[in-house]
């Protein structure tokens, strides 16, 4: 272990060999995982190095149980946001660990130093359960915290074998001599431009806690930041461990200001640490002016994750009238990032509404523009906090869902202008496109399952897991190799799949859980709506009631004895339906028909994961389509559960209901009773068949559409009555996923241009052709060319304009000022999809025909897709 304490001084290859040797001798350990995570994050590894990493991981049996190894990487890697990952782990485990931080490795790793004596035993138990190396390492950490654990250190010295104690002391002396200057490498920094030296060191220190200075630094920050990151788990334990910080001058000093008790200079992360201590003494807040509040918001990190709602409330209450707007936005961001008390959220929203009404003429956009004028950095908070869901809840400012969606678009554009970033315009446009495409799909009029795949795609982008990041980096490394292998090299492709399938397994597991349980778009929320909006009750009761309401049964129903039998049967029937609602259709209930986890021993799951792995790991274009392919996997994975649910309802439940019919209608009341019974049996059959029919996989989670259908919607929007002429082998081919959105956006631009410049009376020609992808059946390379005959007076000008638009090289930022519209937009979309833009044009001066076209890879809708009315 000793040489690895000075890991940054070792060359990569010998260091990896050393880790491999340790892994072979002692098996998997958090200690090696951290050292390896450091190397992978701090240095660029060659293919030979990565092959050694693979060997270590095989020793760890990493692919069977990736949790341990991933946990170290997500704590150390600069590519993953520590705040995001802490939130994810916390919300995933809060119900399981009952406030015990050390119960789960993935939680324990966020605070690798013991918080106090109570925490110490848990930390040691955790370490001794994973590996002998981890146990020794935990003791080293304790020895490095003499101020906090002097007595414990003495106890260890007394009880440990003298030889071990000497070795521990030797290790500590060796580590003490280490300089920490070279730990944070350039390679590490470039992967996260928003990071800074103190945060980088905080993360990297977790891999070097045998160094006294780093252990002390880590422990100090853990006691303020770490406990807040895990605040949901630790509850009250998370407050008051560290004394308040009173020095406002240092807190507000610029970056680079020396920190007295540290070897670092002040930066955003360290200022965040100081501010959190400053806040813990509430009267300090009264001393902050508007400019100081603004300075703090602009020069700290993740406050929305780290401040408690009580602190936020105190900040709001004590802030001056001028700084209230800023605090209100931050408070909303805090709520959106975490599930805190919704009553507090309501109060903040009410304050916000009152403020916008009083000062900004009821206009949220006016408020945003005012804020942006004052502080660009606050834009990050605005984008995070004022999403469509929150905007809808701005009662009195927002009148309907369309209003919310328009205001969100306006906000994105305003922020895009301020920050000079095209991404915000793209998102604004995506909202508009989604609304237009909704014409293709009535969300709940279909009797089939529905998952909002666009929302899920956005969620996956906003919450990348360590496995997704690993995959993306693997794919970008192997992209060129894959292109060259598509025509051969089967053996190498198999090796790539075998080595990396565990990554895809992890991506699939994470995504499937969200697909099932996410409250915004998951299957569970769909089931909830079905149940809540009475569809279930309506279907199950109406059909049966209709039998009893029949005139011909009036006489029979007036017979008290038969009435009693009817009531008894109804009771048992309703109890069957009640059980269906309470247990079978709930994911977390004991009798649930659904599960949100993957069973890797199940043959169908194995096959689905293998197929996903094959496509993701061996197709050159798959990286860009990751979200779509993952959503497709989720549908394939849920399909057997839906089939099982349908079968269960159609058979077991129906049998139960029929058995109840036999029990309660025993024929004592003659033929009238038998007639009612027969009709009830038919009604019950119909009920369960109808309910069972809900549990079918839709053709796709997205709305499938052909280029021709999309042209139809666009021309309706453009109020064009004449029908274009369609030609080509792919006129009716239907596509799905984000391909539909991209295709729509590109077609909308080109059709609008064609229509604007076309001479009246001339038909627009739309040529739609496609080629199959070499290795992936689900993809096609689609080409669309739109030809119009230009008006004589417009021909030369439009020719020059198109030529200029295609020839110009523009950066994303240019488009913010020049507009994300027209051919530049098509260039941008195809560049994002294909790596280079694919827009082309041709002209015929004689006939004044102008053709503009583009090509992109598009995901094919399953062959049996039903026709969708446009």
């Amino acid at each position: 272990m000793q040489p690895l304490a000075l890991l940054e001084a070792l060359d990569t290859r010998p260091a990896l060999h050393l880790m491999l040797q340790l892994a072979q001798e002692f098996g998997a350990s958090n200690f090696i995982s951290y050292k390896l995570a450091y190397l992978r994050s701090a240095r660029e590894l060659s293919d030979e190095d990565l092959s050694l990493v693979g060997e270590i991981e095989r020793e760890f049996e990493h692919s069977k149980s990736p949790g341990l190894h991933f946990s170290a990487l997500e704590n150390v890697s600069s590519k993953i946001s520590l705040f995001v990952v802490a939130q994810r782990r916390t919300s995933g485990l809060v119900g399981r660990v009952k406030g015990e931080l050390r119960t789960a490795v993935s939680l324990s790793n966020f605070i690798p130093t013991p918080l106090d004596l109570d925490d110490l035993s848990g930390l040691l138990l955790r370490a001794s359960e994973s590996s002998l190396l981890d146990t020794i390492y935990a003791i080293l950490v304790i020895f490095n915290m003499p101020r906090e654990f002097e007595d414990v250190k003495k106890e260890f010295s007394l009880r440990l074998n003298e030889c071990i104690t000497q070795e521990i002391k030797k290790s500590l002396l060796l580590a003490l001599a280490a300089s920490d200057d070279q730990l944070v490498t350039n390679f590490y920094c470039v992967h996260n431009e928003n990071s800074g030296p103190s945060l980088d060191l905080y993360r990297i220190s977790s891999a070097f806690l045998e160094r006294p200075r780093l252990a002390a630094y880590r422990s100090k920050i853990d006691r303020v930041i770490g406990i807040r990151l895990l605040g949901e788990i630790l509850g009250k334990k998370s407050s008051g461990v560290t004394p308040a910080y009173e020095d406002k001058t240092s807190l507000l000093a610029p970056d680079g200001h020396p920190i007295l008790d540290e070897f670092l200079q002040l930066d955003s992360f360290y200022r965040t640490y100081l501010f959190l201590r400053f806040v813990s003494h509430r009267p300090n807040l009264l001393t902050l002016t508007k400019d100081e509040v603004k300075f703090i918001f602009e020069n700290t990190l993740g406050l929305e994750m780290l401040l408690s709602e009580a602190e936020m409330r105190a900040l709001y209450v004590t802030s001056s009238p001028e700084s209230k707007s800023l605090v209100a936005v931050l408070a909303l961001a805090l709520y959106r990032k975490r599930s805190i008390d919704p009553d507090v959220d309501f109060e903040f929203r009410s304050d916000f509404i009152a403020h916008v009404k009083a000062v900004h003429d009821k206009s949220i956009l006016n408020f945003i523009e005012y804020l942006l004028k004052d502080s660009a950095q606050v834009a990050n908070y605005i984008v995070g906090s004022l999403d469509e869901v929150t905007l809808e809840k701005m009662y009195g400012l927002i009148n309907n869902a369309t209003d919310a969606s328009n205001v969100r678009q306006d906000i994105m554009r305003a922020v895009g202008h301020k920050l000079n970033r095209i991404e915000y315009f793209i998102e604004a446009d995506a909202i508009a496109t989604r609304a237009k495409l909704a014409k293709l799909h009535q969300y709940f009029d279909s009797s089939r399952m529905y998952v909002d795949s666009v929302a899920m795609g956005k969620w996956l982008d906003a919450n990348p897991s360590i496995s997704t990041e690993q995959y993306r980096s693997l794919h970008s490394r192997h992209g060129t190799l894959l292109i060259s292998l598509e025509d051969g090299g089967a053996q190498l492709l198999i090796q790539i799949i075998e080595k990396n399938e565990y990554l895809i397994r992890q991506i699939a597991e994470d995504a499937f859980e969200q697909f099932c349980l996410n409250t915004e778009f998951g299957i569970e929320s769909y089931l909830g709506r079905r149940i809540r909006h009475n569809t279930l009750d309506g279907v199950t009761t109406d059909t049966v009631d209709a039998v009893f309401r029949k005139k011909e049964h009036t006489v029979a129903m007036s017979n008290p004895s038969l009435r009693k039998a009817v009531d008894a049967w109804l009771l048992s029937y309703k109890s069957i339906i009640g059980k269906l609602r309470r247990e079978h259709l709930q994911f977390k209930a004991s009798g649930s028909l659904f599960r949100s986890t993957l069973d890797h021993n199940d043959p169908t799951t194995k096959k689905n994961v293998q197929n996903l792995s094959r496509v993701l790991l061996t197709s050159s274009g798959a990286g860009e389509l990751l979200n779509e392919l993952v959503v497709g996997f989720c549908w394939r994975q849920i399909a057997p559960q839906l089939e099982h649910a349908a079968r269960f309802i159609r058979t077991s439940l129906l049998r139960e209901a029929n058995a109840a019919l036999d029990k309660h209608f025993d024929g004592h009341h003659g033929s009238l009773e038998l007639q009612i019974k027969a009709e009830l049996r038919e009604a019950v059959n119909e009920v369960f068949k109808k309910v069972a029919d809900w549990f079918q996989v839709p053709q796709t989670g997205y709305t499938p559409a052909s280029a021709k259908e999309l042209c139809g919607i666009i021309l309706i929007d453009l109020k064009v009555t004449g029908e274009p002429e369609f030609r080509g082998n792919a006129v009716d081919s239907r596509y799905t996923g984000m391909s539909v959105h991209r295709l729509y956006d590109c077609l909308a631009v080109l059709l609008q241009n064609a229509q604007k410049n076309s001479e009246p009376g001339y038909t627009i020609l739309v040529q739609i052709s496609s080629q199959a992808h070499k290795t992936n059946d689900a993809l096609e390379f689609l080409s669309v060319d739109i030809t119009s005959t230009a008006d004589n007076s417009k021909y030369e000008r439009s020719k020059q304009r198109i030529y200029h638009a295609i020839a110009t090289t523009e950066a994303g930022a240019d488009m913010v000022t020049e507009g994300y519209t027209g051919i530049k937009k098509v260039k941008y979309i195809t560049r994002m999809n294909e790596g280079i833009h694919t827009v082309r044009y041709a002209v015929d001066d004689e006939s004044r025909k102008v053709t503009v076209g583009f090509s992109l890879h598009a995901e094919l809708a399953p062959g049996d897709a039903t026709q969708v009315a446009v």
Binding site: S339, V389, Y395, N399, A401, D403
Partner: protein, 150 residues
């Protein structure tokens, strides 16, 4: 009892509730079908009684653009928050299809919700009824509560 507001988005349940009010008081309530309009009404008008569903969409089907907006599983609680924030007190009858719901992050059984909601949101909650579709006993219970607080 003059000013009654019914907050309910499900058509059939709404019709049944209206009949209950008519039977108990001989008048029909004002009806809204979304959280946003319910919040607007309670902030701007005074009601003697509010009959409140819990799970609601933000705008309801009567929205100008015909889009219901996002579902709010605890939408009824937003209305109670609005009442409390406006400093108003009304009689409230909760009629929901869920046997329990979340208040301040804690799961509360419907039968215990009267006391919890009364205290937390400072309203006079007169009852909390678990609604069953087309169930005469449910409707009788609702009518009887309404009559009791005439």
């Amino acid at each position: 009892m003059k000013n009654i507001l019914l907050v309910e988005d499900e058509v059939h349940k709404r019709d049944e509730m209206k009949q209950c009010v008519l039977e108990a008081y001989g008048l029909l309530p004002e009806v809204v079908d979304g959280v946003s309009s319910a919040v607007h009404m309670v902030q701007n008008f005074d009601y003697d009684l509010i009959i409140l569903d819990m799970a609601l969409s933000t705008f309801g089907e009567s929205a100008e653009d015909k889009k219901k907006g996002h579902d709010q599983a605890q939408g009824g609680i937003e209305v109670l928050r609005a009442l409390k924030a406006s400093g108003k007190v009304a009689k409230v009858l909760i009629v929901t299809q869920y046997p329990d719901f979340y208040i301040g992050g804690t799961k509360v059984k419907l039968k215990n919700s009267v006391a919890v909601v009364s205290e937390k949101y400072r309203q006079k909650v007169v009852g909390a009824v678990l609604y069953h579709y087309k169930s005469t006993p449910t409707l009788q219970r609702i009518t009887s509560i309404l009559k009791k607080f005439k």
